[in-house]
């Protein structure tokens, strides 16, 4: 089927306009709303390996003699790491409670934590505490912080064993 050149050019312009309208409609929209109004975000993110599940054992002379010469290490330490238990409280109420077993075939890997919690804006007291040692009852690391959160503000809670535990950013 053929049509007159002028009509064809008009139809081409129409089709190209539809094509461009499609691009315009989806190249920067519809808008995605990631966070509702009146909310802020607390992010708890860190990497940490728990302590060994039991204390190292000092081998006796008999035990060492029973081993091959190249295997006679004086200490017998377990590979398996403790389960990481983390709790985040806001104004005394628990808003995050995690129990993370160590990954790996021999359960000897470090744990990666990345959790977002949406919280109402305003002044809140946050407490984060963690147990990373199966030999210890209660928490091995604890820290608290009071923040006045603005809408969409991000409060980042990190953990660094070398500087003593949890930090609030």
């Amino acid at each position: 089927m053929t049509s007159r050149p002028a009509v064809r050019y008009l139809l081409q312009a129409f089709n190209l306009t539809i094509f461009m309208a499609l691009i315009a409609a989806f190249s920067a929209g519809p808008t995605v709303k990631q966070l509702e109004d009146g909310l802020a975000v607390v992010t708890l993110a860190f990497g940490h390996a728990g302590e060994p599940v039991r204390a190292c054992h000092v081998r006796t002379a008999e035990e060492l003699a029973a081993l091959a010469p190249n295997m006679r290490a004086p200490l017998d330490c377990p590979r398996e790491r403790s389960v990481i238990k983390v709790e985040l409280l806001m104004d005394g109420k628990t808003i995050l409670d995690l129990t993370i077993p160590p990954p790996g075939t021999f359960k000897d890997q470090g744990v990666d934590v990345y959790q977002n919690v949406e919280v109402p804006v305003g002044r809140h007291e946050f407490t984060v505490r963690m147990n990373d040692n199966a030999l210890v009852d209660g928490y091995t690391y604890t820290n608290s912080y009071t923040a006045d959160l603005a809408p969409a503000q991000l409060l980042f809670i990190d953990f660094n064993q070398r500087i003593g535990g949890f930090t609030f950013n």
Binding site: N15, F19, A28, Q34, T43, P151, A152, L154
Partner: protein, 522 residues
Amino acid sequence: MKLSANPIKRGYLYLEEWFNLSFGKEWNPLYHLGPLTFFFFWIALISGLYLYIFFNTTVDQAHASLEAIVHGHVLGIGSLMRSLHRYASDAAIITIMLHVFREFSLDRYRGTRWYSWFTGIPTLWMVVLLGITGYWMVWDELALYVSMGASHLLDALPIFSDSMARNFLPGNLSDRFSTLLAFLHLLGQPMFLIFMLWFHVRRLTHVEVTAPKGLAIGCLIALTALSIYMPALSHPPVNLSKVPTEIHLDWFYLNIFPLLQYWSPGEIWLLVAGVTTFMLFMPWLPKKNEGIPAIVDLEHCNGCAQCVVDCPFDAISLQARTDGAKWENEVIVQPELCAACGICTGSCPSSSPFRKMTEDGSLKTGIDMPELPLDKFKQQTDDALAKLAGDNRIIVFGCGHGYDIDAFSAPNVATVHLFCTGMMPASLAEYALKNGADGVVVSGCRSGDCYYRFGNHWLDLRIQGKRMPAIRSRVDKERIKILGGAEIDGKKLHKQLDLFRQSLVQKTATPSVTTAKEVNHD
């Protein structure tokens, strides 16, 4: 009129017809989706090179340098280039998706074509990844949204020992990652994409990579107009102490990320892996049997290589002669690549109904189709000619993928079915005219849209005398009509057949004095 039972195919054919009406067959974008995608890629490449000259890839300066390009360059060139870069990339996704839809709806992805489909799926993913890294480089709120989303997805895979998402939290961001991104987006991914595209078209011949000039100019004007009317803009710069709340997403590239609000990364990977696996194996759901591949008869082949040139699927190649004949080469068929279209038979100079029969009384040629050899369809032509009665007798040769030619049947119209009109030697038309037909109609796929890529095009050129083996110049070409149409084009095709019949009536009334006029094709 016999309608396709497949509503998807019917829908596609109407869309194609609409574009034929608007752009004509030569410029129909649906016939040039690959070259159009290449054209958009070139626009993105050139505009991207312009941006890269002025762009600072560091985390601190990326956003500011892009803003300086967009708002500071004379005559708005920077803004135009940035917008063309984005919109041409978006346009490429639309043409790629139309390409996928077209091949699916016309059933051009199974059988020997599995390879192009199979290699096309990872190529599509590479295009999407290229777009994602592009948005990442800007280091605006959208980039942060993309980086967090991508990190969560990657963290769900057992690839990295440490969490990647933590890199995008306050105090952790470094320029090393932005350098890696710049390398990926500017060099690594484009190079890999070109490599994948080479694989994608590896089993095709005569690959078209240049869009028709008029269509390309039209698209460039449209993209420029859109860029001026609605310039592409950045989000505010990254602020790591603030969560981006409203994201103006490019849904062509970033559509997977909003799912993270509802699904876990593992579920999203499952979806992606499921869809990808399903698409990869679609050519075997169910498998298509192409028919028995072409066979070479060395006794009748002189290794002229016309079939090697004409084969649309690179299934025929040359090798040194093995039978001791005086010719230098012979042709061989790779059965796994052969679509059994028969185009090689039509291109073989030995395929002539005027040829002397062999001792066993059969007509032989250099390369033939076991399921419908030249001898058989010459016999079918003879049978059809014998059936013709009355005035203005027409014989119709039709392919298996266009309009159903049996709908033309009448006492003075007989039909012969072929796999593809390209398998018909042009000399068969002359043979029919000499043996009782007043007119010959060849009814194939829509012009420019052969199911086997080039069948109707090669035959058209042979009838016009522009491609070997061509029809002899003394044949009255006004008695040959080439029709092109799909299942939904019955009304138009019947009208064209009636007009052709009327022209034959007029020719009978006033005998033509010319013998070699321009071929009469629509």
